[in-house]
């Protein structure tokens, strides 16, 4: 029996198109294609703290120190260092032979200028530089930091893994005003950014940096030798998540950096795909406006904790059970070195609408409109806002859920009035210590939107960074967290794990919370 015409034509057509596909892909076997989490639009990882710009930074820049997979700080560009007995003078020697991608040598003066620029912009950098009396290069390979006041986590700050990462740049570039974007992308990292092939909103191209000098140790977390095993890396931004999923599953893309939570079951079921998660995970934040009544009263902010069931938020965001942390009441992340449950006992019973109502009344709430900034995306923030709105309504709150795009939300929340609550989240490496957690700041005007203001909390933060002894620091962490539960700078609505998906023809993929492209081989 003859097949109907469409079926007879199908094998021929398939052969034609498959050959065409092979022809189109010829010569690109060692190109790694990644769907990034967003569009790279800003190239300066010091001016801009967005994660996509941070990830770009890891491609083309290197750091003095870096965290390994166990969270231990290891030297990266630094060869050796020493600290004086009083822990006030830190001396660093750079590795021999380090070069910028333009072939010029890396000098200590470059590193000093880079650290100064970072210190003027970053939350942790500002803390460190508030304690720095002098920082100077003594010769081409050596520089010194002299502290005027005690500062414990010096190496932790220099090896800070997430935004803003203290990336090293040539002195002429690092001399740029930290609020102004740099124009040159010369770095000493494992890759070179191909500006001539950059199509903002679509494609970012990197090639191997022939001048990069990797460490001899194997890659370990963000530390160790950053050996590049592909010729070229392309970040292909695909704004539509359904298209991104189809392209990834079909094999057009090798890595899908941040698939939405509701795609996790589909990806898990595919034998040609693996999922990698950062073991620390991320933390969701409900941020009240401390300047707007009733949340100018700590009791109203404490009431918010009684409205939160972390499981509800995780379910609404679409995270399968395996990708949710069990309910976690540690402000500085469960599973981190600073994990603490101090002060959380009053909230251990979980959601309690009646208690929330009572505290809101005590705070003087009389049915005024409460504005919840409700974004249409990103999905985690959008889902969290919906859950909060429902719970506030259950507590008898007059809620005004105002829907908007994320850019409008950012502009709205920058204003001190006109809103009461917004939601966001951060990666664990930006949360895990009082020195890096920007939303734990309670320095009034200088704090990010929400503007918590509490002198005792600030004193405890200052005491934490001044303390070098780990046991003493742990005690301060407990005190600080207990105070945070009284002040409630923000409400932690859950800890979760957002996986990165990659195809099984890749080996050497590192699970470090940052999509690093070194050490990966494509077969």
């Amino acid at each position: 029996m003859r097949l109907p015409l469409p079926f007879r034509a199908r094998p021929l057509a398939a052969a034609f198109f498959s050959l065409a596909a092979l022809a189109a892909q010829a010569g690109f076997a060692s190109t790694l294609h990644m769907i990034p989490q967003g569009d790279l639009k800003i190239l300066d990882p010091i001016q801009n703290p967005s994660y996509i710009t941070r990830n770009h930074g890891y491609m083309i820049y290197d750091t003095l120190f870096a965290q390994n997979a166990k969270g231990i700080i290891k030297p990266q560009m630094v060869d050796s260092w020493k600290v004086s007995a009083d822990k006030k003078t830190w001396s660093f020697k750079l590795r021999d032979g380090l070069k910028w991608s333009d072939g010029t040598p890396v000098t200590a003066a470059d590193c000093v200028a880079s650290l100064k620029r970072w210190g003027a912009r970053d939350v942790s950098g500002r803390l460190l530089f508030a304690a720095v009396g002098e920082i100077k290069a003594s010769d081409a390979a050596n520089f010194t930091i002299v502290l005027k006041s005690a500062f414990g986590p010096v190496l932790e700050m220099l090896g800070k893994p997430s935004s803003n990462v203290p990336f090293m740049m040539p002195e002429r570039i690092a001399a740029t005003d930290p609020n102004e974007q740099i124009k040159d992308t010369v770095g000493s990292g494992p890759f070179i950014f191909k500006r001539d092939e950059w199509v903002p909103g679509s494609k970012v191209v990197y090639i191997k940096n022939p001048n990069y000098v990797p460490r001899k140790e194997p890659a370990d977390g963000l530390a160790g030798g950053k050996l590049v095993k592909v010729d070229r890396v392309e970040w292909n931004y695909i704004p539509d998540q359904n298209t991104a999923l189809a392209a990834f599953k079909k094999g057009e893309m090798d890595i899908y950096e941040l698939p939405p939570a509701d795609f996790i079951p589909v990806l898990s079921a595919d034998a040609s795909i693996k999922l990698a998660t950062d073991p620390l995970g991320d933390q969701g934040w409900l941020r009240p406006n401390h300047l707007a009544a009733p949340f100018d009263n700590p009791k109203a902010r404490q009431a918010l904790y009684y409205l939160v069931n972390q499981g509800e938020y995780m379910a609404a965001a679409g995270f399968p059970e395996a990708y949710r942390h069990k309910p976690c009441m540690a402000y500085f992340m469960c599973g981190s070195v600073n994990e603490s449950f101090a002060g959380s006992a009053p909230y251990a019973g979980g959601k309690d609408i009646e208690k929330a109502k009572k505290l809101l009344q005590e705070a003087g709430y009389k049915g005024e409109k409460i504005v919840v900034l409700t974004p249409s995306e990103p999905p985690v923030q959008a889902a969290a806002a919906m859950v909060t709105v429902q719970n506030l309504k259950k507590a008898g709150v007059n809620v005004d859920a105002q829907a908007m795009d994320w850019s409008t939300l950012l502009a709205r929340r920058a204003k001190k009035d006109g809103w009461h609550i917004f939601h966001t989240y951060s990666v664990g490496t930006d949360v895990f210590s009082p020195a890096v957690n920007a939303y734990a700041q309670a320095n009034c005007e200088k704090a990010p939107s929400g503007w918590p203001c509490d002198a005792k909390l600030e004193q405890l933060r200052a005491a934490w960074v001044a303390e070098g002894d780990a046991a003493k620091r742990k005690k301060i962490t407990d005190e600080l967290q207990a105070r945070m539960y009284e002040v409630v700078p923000y409400v932690n609505f859950g800890q979760f794990f957002q996986p990165m998906a990659y195809r099984t023809n890749l080996t050497g993929v590192l699970s470090v919370g940052v999509p690093v492209m070194w050490n990966i081989e494509k077969k």
Partner: protein, 312 residues
């Protein structure tokens, strides 16, 4: 010639009005690029510093005068995010959008005009009903539904076409056409439906004219009657629809470009609006407005070719 010159000169006041409106609308809309650049953890002081470096703290009138000065010097400005010249960003995106628009319209015309002619010629028969049914279906289905359907069928299941992306003609004809086939079909169906219906209705009107009856009585062949006598006289509304369609496509391929991840003008517009990249939005609006005016002018000039009674 005078007409052409007059119409070209008329572009200037149109663009001036567009420039004022787009500039003011953007300043009135909520959002602030400085807040986005400063990031999640920025203080009010950080945001203000960045606003100063971008010049966004200057009075609106001063910003407007500065921008107009740039435009008059032929400079569309620089993106506040990427630091790239706006003209360069638009140039990167023009090729995909032009190809999609041209091929989409070609696809629509090639299929729609014969369909409309046949439907009119066979009015009231099953052929007419089938064409009308197809047109209604194509009209009713949103572009993204058609797009996802095509991707599922021809990319994911049959593996004939890539899911997404764009390849320039300079990368070779086969990759070029493979990347554009599905976007063109998904975006073209709606225009095909529109054109087929327009062709059918105008042809029906023309076919009822006395001179057509006379031509039939003289024994003219159907082919000659339809193509030479009827279609030429029905062409003016069809050309108008094609002209409007091209203008709409130039700025309206946003959905197609988003579904198929094609880096065209539509996506650049959406991305720039979402991040409040004022210079880029302003540049795109000016360029698009110019393109609209020129396409309308070309359409008007084409009327004279099809209808000798129209003279300027």
């Amino acid at each position: 010639m005078n007409y052409l010159l007059r119409r070209l000169l008329a572009v200037i006041p149109v663009l001036a009005v567009v420039a004022v409106i787009v500039f003011l609308l953007l300043r009135l809309a909520p959002g602030d690029p400085a807040v986005i650049i400063a990031g999640d953890t920025a203080s009010a002081e950080d945001i203000e510093h960045i606003r100063q470096t971008l010049g966004l703290n200057r009075p609106v009138v001063e910003q407007f005068v500065g921008w107009i000065g740039q435009i008059l010097r032929g400079d569309l400005g620089t993106s506040v995010f990427t630091g790239m010249p706006v003209a360069e960003m638009i140039r990167q995106r023009v090729e995909p959008t032009l190809w999609i628009s041209a091929l989409t319209m070609a696809f629509a015309v090639v299929f729609a005009v014969p369909m409309g002619i046949i439907a009119a010629w066979k009015a009231g028969t099953w052929v007419d009903r089938a064409v009308s049914g197809l047109a209604v279906a194509a009209f009713s289905l949103p572009v993204f539904v058609i797009g996802y359907g095509l991707v599922y069928g021809f990319s994911t299941q049959l593996d004939w076409f890539p899911v997404q992306g764009f390849k320039s003609l300079s990368d070779g004809f086969v990759p070029f056409i493979r990347h554009l086939a599905l976007p063109v079909i998904s975006g073209g169906l709606i225009y095909m439906a529109l054109l087929a219906r327009m062709t059918r209705s105008t042809m029906l009107e023309v076919l009822a004219q006395d001179y057509i009856r006379t031509a039939r009585a003289k024994g003219l062949s159907s082919q000659r009657l339809l193509l030479r006598h009827a279609l030429k006289n029905a062409a003016v509304p069809i050309v108008t629809t094609i002209g409007l369609g091209i203008a709409m496509l130039l700025s309206g391929v946003i959905v197609t470009e988003s579904v198929f991840a094609i880096p065209g003008i539509g996506r650049l517009t959406v991305d720039s609006i979402l991040r409040r990249d004022y210079p880029v939005i302003q540049g795109i609006v000016l360029v698009t407005a110019t393109a609209y005016v020129l396409i309308n002018l070309i359409t008007d000039l084409l009327y004279g070719l099809f209808d000798p009674r129209i003279r300027y």
